[in-house]
Symmetry: C2
Amino acid sequence: MATLKDVAERAGVSTATVSYVMNNKENKVSAGVAKKVRMAARELGYQPNIAARALRSSRSNIIGIISEDIATFQVNNIVQGINQTADRENYQILLGDLNLNSRIWREGRQDYSLVMDYRDEIRDKVEIFRMVGACGIIYVGMHDRDITGLLQTDIPLVYAYSYTKNPGDYMVNNDNQRVATRAVEAMLRQGRRRIGLISGPVESVPAYKRLIGYQTALMDAGAVLDPELIVYGDWSDRSGELACRKLMALEERPDALFCMNDWMAVGAMKVLKELGVSIGEEVVLIGFDDIELCGFVEPALTSISIPLVEIGQRAAEKLIALAAGGQACCHREELPCRIVERETFGYED
Amino acid sequence: MATLKDVAERAGVSTATVSYVMNNKENKVSAGVAKKVRMAARELGYQPNIAARALRSSRSNIIGIISEDIATFQVNNIVQGINQTADRENYQILLGDLNLNSRIWREGRQDYSLVMDYRDEIRDKVEIFRMVGACGIIYVGMHDRDITGLLQTDIPLVYAYSYTKNPGDYMVNNDNQRVATRAVEAMLRQGRRRIGLISGPVESVPAYKRLIGYQTALMDAGAVLDPELIVYGDWSDRSGELACRKLMALEERPDALFCMNDWMAVGAMKVLKELGVSIGEEVVLIGFDDIELCGFVEPALTSISIPLVEIGQRAAEKLIALAAGGQACCHREELPCRIVERETFGYED
DNA sequence: GGGACAGAGTTAAACGATTAAAGCCCTCTG
DNA sequence: CAGAGGGCTTTAATCGTTTAACTCTGTCCC
């Protein structure tokens, strides 16, 4: 493997000159020499040694990813997006996965509110990233976690798909509130008047945003906000069943259901079928996430597709911009979702 | 951040001694001094600098993963398994994903036989792993690819979920052949006699192994091997539909279907429903992979669960053993699959 | 007594890059 | 023409480990 020294010898200059050329410090080297050096580097197939660079300058082209669980649909797709731009921009990815779900499962816990328990693990990952000289960190999480305080260094950090309270943090997300409004508006346009909401847990920030979106649409339409129509689940299909049962037991049944994820929607569908309610007519239904399952249940579930891959890409682009010393265009960014029409709800814009 | 030098000063010895202690070169240092050094290290919270170590010795506790597409079910779960043991054994993971599927999609290609096209990409990843001093590489692929030749170094390599021709390679896989035999035997025990096979592509090694398993069961039972009962798909639900249509058009219809993955099985189910064939009675059906979808189609699809997470774990354990200079217990390992009984086929053992 | 040897620890040279500081050479100015 | 200044290049220290080679001390045996 060719080193800086080899290139320097071949080009007849010092290693310093080669280093300057390689790092595009143009004001340091004349154009002629630079060209000569680049030639030599190409001929030898020179690639800088990451370890040496990291050791010396504590900076490399490695992006550290801290993810809550790579096995989940969302994280998975976001990581794919990060991977794509990293690839394109010649960055590498170091994955630090917290394995959150399988740990929760192993410990027999039901809830995700474990922020404190995982600070050590996160700190470890950050430490490793620092040591390989990662140029920045992307935190990919579904839960609402604030790790900014764990970074003692000034290494840039971008949150993907998770919310933080600190307005100085960089964040890429989807427009939970807006798309919820759009979905409910479409239901209203269809003449639906009692729109039930099967929500995620109260403490979830995305669930909260979607709730606001739901309420906004109803209020703008001058419709009544009936608190009975809002039921909370925990994202599981089982909890969707329970929620739906509760809603259908109301004196005035809802004629539409907005579910905050597809699993709960599928659970709700099971109950509706049991009750002999015709889905898509008596009750229209929309899910959230647009997981693969949607196209395979019967009737096929209309859902909201989150641009996960794009979120990953944007997060990576932001991070790379920050790492290069520039500024990212804005702190908080929300990418638009797309409503995917299937059989449970005819959406027209 | 504390360095070797700090620890050495605190313990009143040279950096060399500290290094020896940290690397458990016990014959170099007396027990008393070792204890003193370890104390000092703990007090300072010393963590070795990965970059420096990699630079000097070209060896670190980083496991490089080359994966074909992190977004696929199989790869995803295997990586999770690798992650788990890596975590436990204090190794780190560097992920080099080839993004194969999205590239294939982008280029508008239909087939996966692109081995040659991706040698360069793989070489790049290997190069990066070498530079951060990865202690070994795990190749996670669904397709049959041989990258052994791409490693010029003597860095250990373990294949997870992909087959290679070279018997000297380390490989962890599932027992495709045996479980196929078991599944078909169970069908025979139920009195089924014309068992249709919806296979993966001819060139796929796992598909071939499953085919052998299917044939073995039939032959052992003294049943007739009717080549008309074997149809090839390309793993997609669409191809499952086509295959099923072909099989159901036979003069003597099959009374059982063994599908080599769940997507094709779901496609087949669609056709069976169309034809008014009662699934689970007229025709029993089994899929392969046990993806989440299986529990949600109607009737729920019986399938074969591949121990993906365990494959990842074993692969990582093997690699760590090899990296530590020891030998891994055996070159090729096949973990047993589990048949998950649902509604399309009653399996009893 | 002295050479051989073993055990325990130290010295110092790498590994491959970055970068402040110094050096060289040329031009410009008073 | 001396001195300043600027553009380009080199020198050499440095990052934190690893490890071959060396030193030192004590023991043993002929």
